[in-house]
Amino acid sequence: MDEVKKTELPDSWWHKVYAAVVVATILVIAALWAFSQYFK
């Protein structure tokens, strides 16, 4: 178990992942809005 724990990913990598989550969320909401406008 300890060996696995040593493979923690660095903070810089996580910051990129968090940014990707935020951008993806904005894109998904925008896509859903476009979807509802198209079929309105």
Binding site: T7, I29, L32
Partner: protein
């Protein structure tokens, strides 16, 4: 149901119970039974996180909401990815590195035993009630599909899940969750394709969506900043953000999931799975409800979806006359819906919108008639099960019922396991007997699982008439969640916060939610914001005014 459907449902249930009770390896110790020795891979934990949240309520309630209200409920989930990022930065490393079994144990390390006990107690109340509602949802379906007594259904459903959770502990919960998620996804995809395949000839998926869009069923963003409006982008991004922070970061049924991961990184990755997949998944579930609505433009839906209520008034003259009016309104709407979907002109669209209004008014008269006799009557939860039983082909009925079972059991098991963990470790080990052996704690954990299972079944017997079930669960949560979150904000982010501040801040927070719910008209999602802000503010002020005496360790 046909023999094939029975076989599918029976086979699913038997396999899940068998699979759950065989997960007893390495469960003799406290670490193994409650945390799976922190050995589980991120993808299993991530699926378990999603399965725990995706209960049968999500399938039954959300598809019903999709049918009645359209897609607007999806806005509730817009804050979820942001909540997950915040929790990955704060809660996951804090809890994991503190080496705790429960979220509330961390509060004792930061404040004192009072705060741990009080927060754990509130968790037990809100989750104990919540799991009752989670059991009620599939029981409603079974009572319709199988004609079983609702009471019997609740106990059969609740106690069978309790049984394998009690034996296998958290490992049984997680690994059955993984399999149940596959069953759920498979069932949803099959359901989606079958509904579209049942549209009349010449009506495509696009035509159907235009019909739904014309009457506002596809609204996914509402910009109104009205606090009395239930689902807006703001209630999703701000108010529901607080709910998700609290649910995933302070509710033991979710915290326990990522505490079983192999490392902080794996715990974070498991939470981010939900950040990426939850909104699309919820979209698909609501879309099924919307497509059921489209299907019923061309095939007459029952005036009342609850078959039992329908049968009760079938011989009443007044009800029969309402039924006749309803049938006429349906025929008018069907005719203009067909015209609009083939011509796609503005005038046909206007006629369709008008005909839909008349249809809804005719249906409302039927609903009001039933409500005169049964004021708590709510039809939302009966839409999807009724549709499945009446319109799905043999085999698919069994598959969807198995998927609903899977959704229910995955949530029930995780929640019972969390309730048992908090009872055993926050109360029994901390306050009653700190020197018992691991074997004794695991035994207490199993007994606690059994007792909570019975309690949840009793709550479930009262929960089936409380309106849309999905909202009932969220309302239960909203009463406590915001204030619980406030205590964790004090712990993580407010250096000056002390145990007096946290303890009394929490009580102030819950009192403020009670006041907000009784004396204002704000929607329940905002209770989370009120509870959290009042707890943090009151907690901070009390901490400043009443300095802490030297903390007595143990």
């Amino acid at each position: 149901m046909s023999y094939l459907d029975w076989l599918i449902v029976g086979g699913y249930l038997a396999f899940m119970i068998f699979d759950g009770i065989r997960m007893t390896k390495h469960t003799s110790g406290v670490d193994g039974y409650f945390l799976a020795n922190r050995s589980l891979p991120w993808w299993a934990v991530g699926l378990s996180v999603m399965a725990t949240q995706l209960s049968a309520i999500t399938l039954v309630g959300a598809t019903g909401q999709g049918y009645m209200d359209g897609m607007r409920f999806i806005q509730f989930y817009y804050g979820l990815p942001i909540a997950m990022v915040i929790l990955c930065v704060t809660a996951v490393p804090f809890f994991y590195r503190a080496n705790v079994f429960t979220a509330y144990e961390y509060l004792e390390k930061r404040f004192d035993v009072r705060v741990r006990t009080l927060t754990s107690f509130f968790f037990l109340i809100s989750r104990g009630l919540g799991v009752g509602v989670v059991i009620a949802a599939p029981s409603v379906i079974l009572s319709i599909v199988l004609g079983w007594n609702e009471l019997t259904t609740i106990f059969v459903m609740g106690l069978s899940t309790t049984f394998y959770t009690m034996i296998g502990g958290v490992q049984a919960v997680t690994w059955t969750d993984v399999k149940q998620m596959f069953v759920i996804f498979f069932g949803l995809f099959v359901c989606l394709f079958v509904i579209v395949g049942k549209f009349p000839e010449g009506v495509s998926l696009g035509d159907g969506l235009h019909l739904a869009g014309a009457v506002g069923k596809l609204e996914t963003v509402n910009w109104s900043f009205d606090l009395t409006e239930k689902y807006t982008i703001w209630s999703g991004v701000i108010a529901a953000l607080f709910l998700f922070l609290s649910y995933f970061g302070c509710d033991q049924s979710q915290v326990q999931r990522f505490l079983t991961a192999k490392s902080v990184s794996e715990g974070r990755t498991s939470l981010l799975m939900s950040a990426f997949f939850k909104i699309p998944m919820q979209f698909m579930i609501l879309l099924i409800g919307v497509l059921v609505f489209v299907f019923y433009q061309f095939q007459q839906p029952p005036m009342i979806f609850n078959a039992n209520e329908n049968a009760k008034y079938a011989n009443s003259a007044e009800y029969k006359s309402l039924q006749t009016e309803y049938e006429k309104a349906f025929e008018r709407r069907k005719s203009v819906a067909t015209e609009y979907s083939t011509t796609n002109t503005d005038s046909a669209k206007q006629s369709y919108i008008e005909a839909n209004k008349e249809f809804l008014a005719a249906r409302k008269q039927g609903v009001d008639f039933v409500k005169k006799e049964n004021p708590s009557f709510n039809d939302v939860n009966y839409v999807f099960p009724n549709f499945v039983v009446q319109n799905m082909p043999i085999g698919v009925i069994g598959l969807i019922i198995a998927a609903i079972f899977a959704a229910a059991m995955s949530s029930i098991s995780a929640e019972l396991n969390a309730l048992a963990t908090a009872t055993t470790l926050d109360f029994y080990r901390r306050l009653v007997d700190a020197n018992a052996t691991d074997k004794q704690y695991v035994f207490v954990g199993r007994i606690a699982t059994l007792i909570w299972g019975i309690f949840a079944c009793l709550v479930a017997t009262q929960a089936t008439n409380l309106g849309s079930l999905i909202e009932v669960v969220n309302k239960f949560g909203s009463f406590f969640y915001g204030s619980l979150l406030g205590v964790f904000v004090l712990a993580f982010a407010v250096k000056r916060a002390n145990s007096h501040g946290a303890f009394f801040g929490l009580l102030f927070g819950i009192a403020s939610v009670w006041v907000a719910s009784n004396y204002t008209k704000i929607e329940f999602l905002w209770f989370n914001v009120v509870g959290c802000l009042v707890t943090v503010l009151a907690g901070y002020l009390i901490s400043v005014i009443v300095p802490e005496r030297k903390i007595q360790e143990n």
